[in-house]
Amino acid sequence: MVDFLRDFIHILRSSDLRVSTSESIDAMNVVSEVGLDDKSLLKDSLSFSLAKTLREKEIFNKCFDNFFEENYMNLKGEKLSKENHEEDIEFDELNNIENTEKNLEELYKSSDKTSLMTVMALAARDANLQDIKLFTQVGMFTRKIFDEMGLEKLNNDIFQAAREGDGKREGELKNIRENLRLEIRDYVENQVKLRTTNAGKQLREDALSQMRLTQADKSDYQIMSGIIKKMARRLISVHSRRKRKSQRGVLDIRSTIRANQEYDGILFETVWKKTKVDRPKIVALCDVSGSVANVSRFFLMFLHSLTEILPNVRTFAFSNKAGEVTDLFENKDIEVAAAETLLLNGGGSTDYGQAFVDLEGFLENNIDRKTTVIILGDARSNYGDPRCDVLKTIQEKSKRILFLNPEPKSVWGTGDSEMLRFVPYCSKSKVCSSLFDLERVVDDMLRSSI
């Protein structure tokens, strides 16, 4: 029972569901309370102690079904053999081991699937199957388990039969060996499926969040928007906490006196004024022409995933002309909105000067000292007038301008890049080429806005 639970929790953990030690102890208690006989009761009960959000419940249900489809027979087998053990455990266990060593052939022939599974599970444990990481290891583990189960004996038998010239027996034994091998392989493959689906994903996610976004492939978009959601969740939990801390203001004398009337006017309790925290206003202007489109796409998705802590976001996209895309993101699914943004505003040659003029037109008086303007683009304006004067007025009206450029610093100012002319008007200019960079930039921005 402990083994099965340990295995199950191991699988839950590898499927991105955190289970703490105290929770696994709880699960153990739960199992001893309800027993193993009723599968649906077991599922209900375990879900109370192991899965603690709606998302986790979904993962739990999937894992439970997979695991038990596979192991329930096995589990029952284990229980049965345990019942047998009861009379004389040591003797039985010894016997058991000897049995498997000797009678792999008999075991197979007896068509007792349960005990075969039990033997296989025991062998798998000895071969450390739970450590399997990649599907390429299937062959190796199959062989290891087979060895543990007594392959050598079977091989010897085959060899002996061949030497004695008993062709029929040789063929039969070879047949058994092949079938057993297939069965073990199936078992191992199943285990791989259970245990490694997520490990591979984890690896891929790590790689993707470090990769330059301009290199990102369409097939990865889905995973990447998943990563963005995760990052956004992380930032939300970090930043919503800090805000509450900094909300306490100075002593509220009037309320303090009122609150302490019941103590004869002696000031036991203090009441504090609450300071209002200005929510940062954010205006983002994103270049969506060919080369930068990918970065803009993910940046926009990121900003709009943060509505909980950034309620005042307005976003604009441009290539040769700027257009507002806030509504798109607010009313539609975030991925659809991102795709539509590129369709509506992409194409045409980039013109930063025109974009700045348009932005100023859109904002008019809606820009004040609380507004952070974020510009994302490669600053390559096709030799058009960069209109630094407009950028300067925007800078004067706003709190600050952040410029995010996906190009490495070494090429800023080369060719048609106007980056070096923009830098003086920005309070910060940063290289931002991967999801990882994006997260850091947004985190920074939130930190300094409070």
């Binding site: 879900s47 709606l54 509450r244 004869d264």
Partner: protein
């Protein structure tokens, strides 16, 4: 041992069914999932964190449990700014002041008896202990629940509305069922209370708190269960109308609404339809009474074009 196992398992199942039927008697209809959670929290002595959309009977569950176990229900409603003094205990400052005033003469006597400053301080020190004793302690819900002689059902409602600090402060109480009061010491109850925490998920509850609780998620009920709930709460309803009504509400929950109609709102609607002496759902009537189910004008606008369709489907 195996025999024990099966028998205890059998009794576990019986106990769960027993809980379910007892709840039913009080008019709280639940599925096995919920009953299992109650059973486990009782046998493991762990608090239950109940989550789910508003109006699915999270608070009712605690009330039903209290009723079933014949134990007092102690309720603590959480809100922003809730602190120890309101949740745990408070010194009766007024009483302390009053007593010192009344006993002034007595105090003077005692102090005048002693000849040196040191001995008079020593004498006064004895009174310090008297004034900070349990006589002057005002127990608030949490302390009350722990102190109660025969156990109790403690309901900490809408924990997500409280601050993070309060959540951290609950940890000691929930895992050890004890309270430390600096002036007196640690107070530990004889009987563990049964603790329910409810949350509407307006913010994420901390991992530390979650780890100490069993987690129960109550979703909207399926049509079968909802019909049962309606017939238990509004027994005078026409059977035909009941089926239509439940199907209609279930259909409404599939629409893209700001706030989905909850079970309690379905019950309210059923009651008002009974009052209006309705036998069949009619589009006009539904439109007139829809504000019982939906609490936002935008939701009413969104569902308006679908109403005829939904009524048609619900009559099938």
């Amino acid at each position: 041992m195996s025999n024990n196992k099966t028998s205890s398992n059998g009794s576990a199942k019986d106990l769960i069914e027993n809980i379910q039927s007892n709840f039913e008697k009080q008019g709280y209809i639940c599925n096995t999932h919920i009953a299992t959670a109650i059973f486990l929290s009782q046998s493991l002595g762990k608090p239950i964190l109940v989550e789910g959309p508003p109006g699915v009977g999270k608070t009712e569950l605690a009330k039903a449990t209290a009723e079933w176990m014949k134990k007092p229900l102690i309720r603590l409603q959480c809100y922003e700014g809730l602190d120890e003094a309101k949740a745990l205990y408070e010194w009766k400052y007024g009483k302390q002041l009053l007593y010192t005033q009344v006993l002034k003469d007595k105090l003077n006597q005692i102090v005048s008896k002693s000849d040196s400053l040191e001995s008079s301080i020593n004498n006064l020190n004895n009174f310090d202990d008297i004034f900070f004793s349990e006589k002057f302690l005002e127990p608030r819900p949490l302390l009350k629940a722990i102190e109660s002689e025969n156990g109790s059902v403690l309901l900490i409602d809408e924990i997500d509305k409280s601050d993070d600090e309060f959540e951290a402060f609950l940890l000691e109480i929930l895992s050890e069922y004890q309270v430390s009061i600096p002036e007196i010491g640690t107070i530990k109850g004889n009987v563990k209370p049964i603790v329910f925490l409810t949350s509407n998920n307006t913010r994420e509850i901390g991992d530390a708190l979650k780890r100490r609780c069993l987690h129960l998620y109550i979703p909207f009920p399926d049509p079968f269960l909802e019909e049962k709930i309606i017939s238990s709460r509004v027994p005078e309803i026409d059977k035909n109308l009941k089926i239509q009504l439940v199907n209609f509400v279930q259909g409404l929950r599939n629409l893209d609404l700001k706030k989905l109609p909850s079970v309690s709102e379905t019950i309210d609607w059923a009651r008002s339809l009974v009052l209006l002496n309705v036998k069949n759902l009619e589009p006009n009537l539904v439109r007139e009474t829809l504000n019982i189910l939906l609490k936002f004008q935008t939701d009413i606008d969104v569902s308006d074009p679908e109403i005829d369709n939904l009524i048609e489907q619900s009559k099938k």
